[in-house]
Symmetry: D2
Subunit: 344 residues, 4 copies
């Protein structure tokens, strides 16, 4: 029987992607949709300006949107996916956890808290057991798991694949799609025939979340990885798909061929939304490209390419679909992990 | 009296920019236009598909295009600007030098040759005297000076400004405009809603030309700078303006404020096409941006911004107009230097 | 058992779409791929720069490409799909028909010939029997059917739906995607931040092909429809999907609601590639939009919207995927019709 | 001595263009800047996110922004340029006129009022004297003149040039730039790789404003022209420049050559912002194009091209810079007319 799930912040860009992914999902059944006060009481069709490129599912369209409040969500909902703006998430997510809901959240608030697991299942599924610590410390009946930022998710799996060589220093420059900022996040006048070399707080997320994700959990405490990351973030005129240029310095020598082999053979995980092969490495030096490769593995795979010796370290490019692998799909995958691990 | 000049490869993207810059130039008078065999004998209006956003100058439009051959260019032409494809430049440029013409070339062939000066006048004007060595060695009556690649020109002035701190390692990721590949270099199907993390030979140009430009010339021999540069190049959907993310490691400590001060005060040179201030540093962290800032200083200035401490070095962004400062304007400026230094 | 089919001009934009559609097709099996002389002898993977956004099918990738010559195509191939440039199609297509092959062609040559059926199966399937006349007149063992131009296919089904009201005058302005010109047809410098109000010969195609498609066939001769069409064609910076603004004057009064009803209820045809519903009419006045609606019905449906009373006639917008419904899918659908009608 | 002028709504897209045009203007001196309550009291530099591609003028940057209220504007200001949202303009513009200010407004409110002159100086300068009627009727010390909508301004001058042939019916399809909707009017996710066939109320503006502009004024009353116009409006991914496809039916026969001659020879007006030649007709059928031709005549000229016989009428394309000729420049030009005609 499918778990009953809800979506907090269901009308936004990530909320719409969540609905697109959850509606046909074998393990989940959409049972609640919340949004801001002005949408409460409306049908989802009325409340959301649907902009995903597949039609709005009929049954979801007729559901009534409620306020984002624990009292407005039915008690028999098992799991909530949250794509709230972080300023809202900060205020309301803890209340849901106190009220007993398990929350898989894409919002950035709390991601770096010591007792909140930040998880990419293929990379650090074992961090999920930090929830025991969380429940002890916070006294929650519910629980909270976070997925990282879309630009972090893009490059961390490739680093994880190289970890055995001893990660030391990473430089990463990002070319990020406009959908990462939400439907109204980037105006057309800002970005047509242009690029913006700044995304607020984004560089810090790549630099800190990556260390937490690659850290180790001993059952009681989480140690962050010692890798040092320097990020430079750019917005460019693409719809979906974050492309990243990466340089890695490792303790042990690492050739491009060894790196390609490590990435290609890096294991996926046996969960419905995880692709058969997590990282695809292209031989053609001009790939991956956002429009061509963002839908690999139904948007859940990581594409890599251009592996080459740099002047002083290893250099490559990687790409992921920022609103699927980097946001909605990441939350859904964490929901699947929570279900498999018995947390719901 | 104005020097009589010619343009080799006058119908291409850089050729058209050259004409746009040379036509109103106080020191130069366009006296010869060459192109491929199929254009020879036609009026320039017929031969060129004019695509610059100012009207084609009337007098130039009526000039007759000749073949790119020393015999086809009038003897009283003093200086030739070359924007030939490098495969053509390689074959025909030396012949013009032998025949006594002084050539200011934007073509990539020969840029790294020991006796060919590669010059950005504000950075290494003194390298021009390598022409004495060149004439000795090659027995040319004419001479050949090169300007660097458009993506090299964008970041080298900022490095020059920081040189006193001891440049050690540089990482640079580029976001390059489509005009850099010529009018038909990038098809619309390749780049709309996309980015391409590969530009053939481009990374090597940034890595090697920068060392030559920042090298020292003792009157006899040129020593390259010891800075190590690792570049990663991307094509994005912008028309003009290359944006670059730079990380610099220096021997001496260097704060963002010191770097900004060094860039802002880096001297320009007293030549007609050189801007009053070479490097503009923006305080606003989301600048420079290609569409907003590429025409600074009539397209001849360098824009910098986002100076900040990285995890382990200094980090900033810079931008230049790739077909003006990075190509046609660079050649014209070298022509002005040749004139001022008495080489023509 | 599947019919064995070949693709003439397999490496181009439409050729790649043909392969994408034919590879999983229930009735067709790809048995031959042809291209220009320079590709002959290479594997398809080597010969084609694959740019469709699904991976190249493995078995097709390993097939050997032959020259576009009847002698180079196996005799047991039943049906050829042609996406040759019209200048090439003109020269070589008749030879294939003489040699006994049935050809479903997307190339524009010959479309307006009296004895060549120009067919959109949902609109004028009965024109296929013009092939009897064709074989009589030309003495071909094979046969040739054409699909119309991509911009013609977009609006003709909506006119067909309104035909009972008596079509008199049609004005149509098109906003066409760059893929309609092939991979290298529109350079990025021509179209970024721009639009081009001219596509060579395109207006004539809309104006004449529409009359032939809406004409009647009495078993011996084809009469063109008397509707008068005036077209104005524009290229805009979209990848796929032609959008058209249409004004229609009809003999009988026609309200927007009646027009919507006529379009929605216009019948599809029972062939594998034809969508269940041919024309979808949107209520939301800002639809259809290329990126949102081009994949309706797997790219084979027509989207319409904005039905409203104009100052003096009926006004609406329509959209179709130009390389699927408007080209490769149109040819495949004609192939299905040929099979169903016993021509192969 | 320069007239002292103010800008109502100075921080928006058109407000910034107004400042860019007024700052170097020979007849006007900027003496007041107003914006919404949240900006009042700030320096203009702080209040406006400057996004025009020339630097913000230093002296304007330091001016203090006031509320948009007659009491907040100095009495010695002679003329106000208004680029307020129409919902705001409706409420506050009349108050300024009552308080004695002469207002040249780009806002759409009141444009179709019987006693408000809607003026393009080169087309219907004589309508300005409707201000006498206005003052009589409204008892204003001040006065209000409007310029038409950006998409109206683009095609009306070409119609005016053809008026002697007897205008009957006009079809016009527009391809409009995103700047027409203001800085945040069109999100990047709406328009990249897309087009939107709907702009609220826009079609009505083209259809009605054109008749008023082409109407005649007998000194007491304004009669609208009898031409019937049907418009279809589209938003496309261009920054600046509205391109329009026009079909015209005239009483008298009209060849493309006659139309071209009529447009080329249509007189300009002797005011500082009016170009020497109002309408430029291109021979090349693929012009005008937005990025190539929008800056003709410093953005104040109209570009036309593609004049050809349609199936049943005359057909052509035209283009104007929507935020200069179509908005800020239009208001400035009306201000110049007011000054020349002694209304200020």
């Amino acid at each position: 029987m499918a778990a009953r799930v809800g979506v907090l912040g269901a009308t936004g860009a990530v909320g719409q992607r969540l609905i697109q992914l959850l509606e046909p999902h074998p393990e989940f059944e959409i049972a609640a949709l919340t949004a801001s006060e002005s949408s409460a009481g409306k049908s989802y069709r009325q409340a959301a300006k649907w902009r995903v490129d597949s039609p709005i599912p009929d049954d979801v369209a007729e559901m009534t949107v409620t306020e984002t409040d624990p009292d407005a969500v039915p008690d028999d909902v098992d799991l909530l996916f949250s794509s709230l703006p972080s300023s809202v998430g900060e205020k309301v997510e803890p209340g849901f956890c106190e009220a007993g809901y398990v929350v898989s959240s894409n919002s950035s608030n709390g991601r770096m808290d010591d007792d909140i697991p930040l998880v990419i299942p293929e990379v650090n599924a074992e961090h999920i057991d930090l929830l025991e610590v969380q429940r002890d410390e916070r006294g929650w009946d519910g629980a909270m798991v976070k997925n990282p930022n879309c630009s972090t998710i893009t490059f961390v799996p490739t680093l994880a694949a190289l970890e055995e060589y001893g990660l030391e220093k990473v430089h990463v420059a990002t070319l990020q799609a406009v959908s990462g900022a939400g439907y109204d996040g980037v105006s057309s006048m800002e970005i047509i025939d242009n690029a913006i070399p700044y995304i607020g707080s984004e560089e810090d997320k790549l630099e800190t979340e990556s260390r937490k994700l690659l850290g180790s959990f001993d059952g009681a405490e989480l140690s962050h990885n010692s890798v040092e990351v320097a990020a430079s973030c750019n917005r460019i005129p693409t719809i979906d798909g974050h492309l990243e240029n990466v340089w890695v310095e490792t303790e042990e020598d690492l050739t491009p061929d060894e790196a390609a082999e490590a990435m290609e053979s890096y294991p996926s995980i046996d969960l419905p939304s995880s692709p058969d092969q997590l990282i695809h490495v292209f031989d053609d030096p001009d790939r991956p490209q956002p429009r061509m490769d963002r839908t690999l593995g139904d948007g859940m795979a990581i594409a890599a390419g251009g592996l080459r010796e740099s002047t002083f370290d290893l250099q490559y490019n990687c790409l992921a679909h920022n609103t699927i692998r980097g946001a909605a799909g990441a939350s859904v995958l964490n929901g699947e992990l929570l279900l498999e691990q018995g947390y719901i």
